[in-house]
Amino acid sequence: MKLIVQNGRLIDPSQNLDATLDLFVENQKIVAIGEAPAGFEDAELVDASGKWVLPGLVDLAVALREPGQTQKGSIASEGRAAVAGGVTTLVCPPDTSPIVDTPAVAALIQDKADEAGMANVFPTGALTQGLAGEQLSNMVALTEAGCVAVSNGRYEMKNNKVLSRALEYAATHDLLVVFHPEDTSLADGGCAHEGLYSTMHGLTGIPDTAETVALMRDLLLVEKTGVRAHFARLSCAKSVEMIADAKATGLDVTADVALHNILLSDDILNQFDGRFHVRPPLRGEGDRLTLIEGLKQGVISAICSDHQPHEKMAKIAPFAATEPGMANVEVLLPLAMTLLDEGDLDFATLLSCLTSGPAACFGLEAGSLAVGSFADFILFDSTARWYWDSSKRKTKGHNSPYFGDEFIGQVTDTYISGQRIYQLS
């Protein structure tokens, strides 16, 4: 099957490309930009006039909730939400039920994703069996079954010795380990950033040291074991500095941040609104600005939605009693673009952090419009003004604070391997 995507404004930070050019697709891949290759005939035409043609977004944190928690979401529903948001490749965490600690569960997720026919889904395998932090998982078997990395999420390791051994084993087989740095004892019982607002409102705080103490330990063990490491959902200013220092000393580390942690700070707690209960918590304004600076400087190379869909009742309770997480994958790009309004980031950096940046962190063949890449791309109407109507949402999640908000810019079409998977109705 051949496609010619005509007259669109092609923007691809991975190639420093921003020009109105045609895009040529054959056999699932991009075969040319600008001029048609010799003998390129009988192609289907896609009119992209007035639209932007962007690489499909790569989201390193989308909880699909399946298997085990289908009251919150399913591979099909959250996959639909993802492609509506322009996400063509996503990575899901191992904390399903059962946990992704056997090849069978990893295979099940991918089979269901294939059946749903939505975004490309890559599971993360558990670093330890049952995420219990005691016995190493069969991590090589997990990666052979399609897991792109291993992680223990925010689940506690029994002790540093187990962690060190797990990293040594992963390093032996050149596996990527994803860290969610959090000292569970320092974070224990907390639901909000430890600062003025949590103090004022009597919410138990999670200090930034809960993240940085764990991050320092993790970095020392990464240095010792030589494992490839990715640090997920950083939230503190100090963490940015620590990752920058680690990179400067030559450690093979990458990092990401959740979109809400760079959009919001803890002053929003004034409303006691459980929809803003996330983990790691929304930090202070200084943290937020430093995270953005980290993106600008390339210390952090990925922005993810950290999509955590929940059923309605999960958020109908006093703040601390609500379940943490937001469900924003469906509006990832237009929501991220609100950062441009404040002049915090330029579009090329932002788009890079949503496409080639995350793809590079996990070594995924995605996030680029370069010739030879899979034809995963989206058409984006940058001028569309629209409201996100919760009754028409694709996600099963009821927990976005952005339902009812007006956005400027909308994904109109999503293509994966040259196939149109989503079209705005």
């Binding site: 430890e194 600062g195 003025l196 949590s198 103090t199 004022m200 409102h201 009597g202 919410l203 138990t204 004034n270 409303q271 006691f272 609104d273 009742m313 109908i316 309770a317 006093p318 703040f319 601390a320 009693a321 604070p401 009812g404």
Partner: protein
């Protein structure tokens, strides 16, 4: 829809109280009105008929998700002196223990057509949550939510201070003990700063008095002598026994030695300084018996004042609710 700021949620269109959730956002005029009204109720307890008909025909439900005999009793007395019908529900041992959500419990109680909920809950923001999710014509009075607020306790403390000191301007007040976990201290700090005291000092070790309180307008002291030097009012807070096990303090005895209020340490305050405590008292942990029972102690006055303040707040909130309902109905009629 975003949730409301505390001030917008608590006040009706005319700026009158319709819920009483927190002192955050309430101005000096409203706080003074509460105190003035409470003053007028104070003498009622000495009369043979201790009732006024301000809440006659209204149903007040004491919803206590957390035990507190003293607070519940004073709310019950206050409601009865306002002629309301009162129901006490200890939710901790009933509905929620059977797995019912807070919202389900509320909806059932609303269906019983109550007019006012007095709520105590272990989660910060619970009263705020209930006010957001209840039918609009039910007044919510916060009787203590988590570590967040205990506004009627703070107002009864303000009434006690005013009755003994006459005014707030120029006063120096020390609050001593476990500030971190105290909803009372948070509300007291807001009340004292709104009412215009010269200085509020929060006294205790760093584990119980984090630096963020300075951003709320308090002066932080980790030394008792510096903390209560020349103050007009010393407010001691209750120290929960479980704090000893949580690595916040080494022992009761060390806490008492460093921060306990004794005859000797009280001598650092002004000679006419009064001593307050929200109760119940841990004698020999945060305060000595000599001080607690001494002539400068106004602890029992606080209890008496609590009934008057609760009557004031309940009558004002009910009145604000009714006015809001009347306004809404008139609006519908015009449409």
């Amino acid at each position: 829809m975003m949730r409301s700021e505390p001030r917008a949620l608590q006040l009706n269109d005319d700026g009158q109280l319709k819920h009483f959730l927190t002192l955050d956002g309430l101005d000096k005029t409203i706080l003074t009105e509460i105190l003035d009204r409470a003053d007028s109720f104070l003498t009622m307890g000495e009369q043979s008929v201790k009732k006024v008909p301000l809440l006659r025909g209204r149903t007040v439900v004491n919803l206590f998700f957390e035990n507190s005999t003293r607070t519940r009793t004073t709310f019950e007395l206050a409601a009865k002196r306002l002629s309301a019908d009162v129901i006490n529900l200890n939710i901790e041992t009933s509905a929620t223990s059977k797995g019912e959500s807070l919202l389900d419990t509320l909806q059932n109680l609303e269906a019983m057509q109550s007019d006012m909920f007095v709520v105590r809950h272990s989660d910060s923001g619970a009263a705020h949550f209930i006010a957001e999710h209840c039918t609009p014509n039910v007044a919510i009075i916060n009787a203590g939510d988590g570590r967040h607020a205990h506004p009627t306790q703070a107002m009864l403390d303000m009434l006690t201070i005013r009755r003994h000191k006459g005014q707030f301007t120029g006063l120096k007040v020390a609050i001593v003990g476990d500030i971190l976990h105290s909803r009372v201290a948070r509300s007291q700090l807001q009340a004292l700063t709104t009412l215009g005291v010269e200085e509020v000092r929060l006294v205790g070790p760093k584990t119980l008095v984090p630096s963020f309180f300075a951003e709320m307008g308090a002066q932080i002291c980790h030394d008792l002598e510096a903390g209560i030097q020349d103050v007009d009012v010393v407010i001691m807070l209750r120290l929960q026994k479980e704090r000893m096990k949580g690595a916040l303090l080494p022992s009761e005895s060390e806490f008492y030695r460093l921060y306990g209020l004794t005859e000797e340490s009280l001598s650092w305050a002004k000679p006419d300084a009064i001593v307050m405590h929200p109760g119940p008292i841990n004698r020999g942990v945060e305060i000595s018996s000599e001080v607690a029972d001494g002539e400068r102690s106004v602890i029992l006055n606080q209890v008496t004042n609590g009934i008057a303040v609760r009557m004031a707040v309940m009558s004002m909130a009910m009145s604000g609710q009714l006015q809001q309902v009347d306004t809404a109905q008139a609006g519908e009629g015009e449409a």
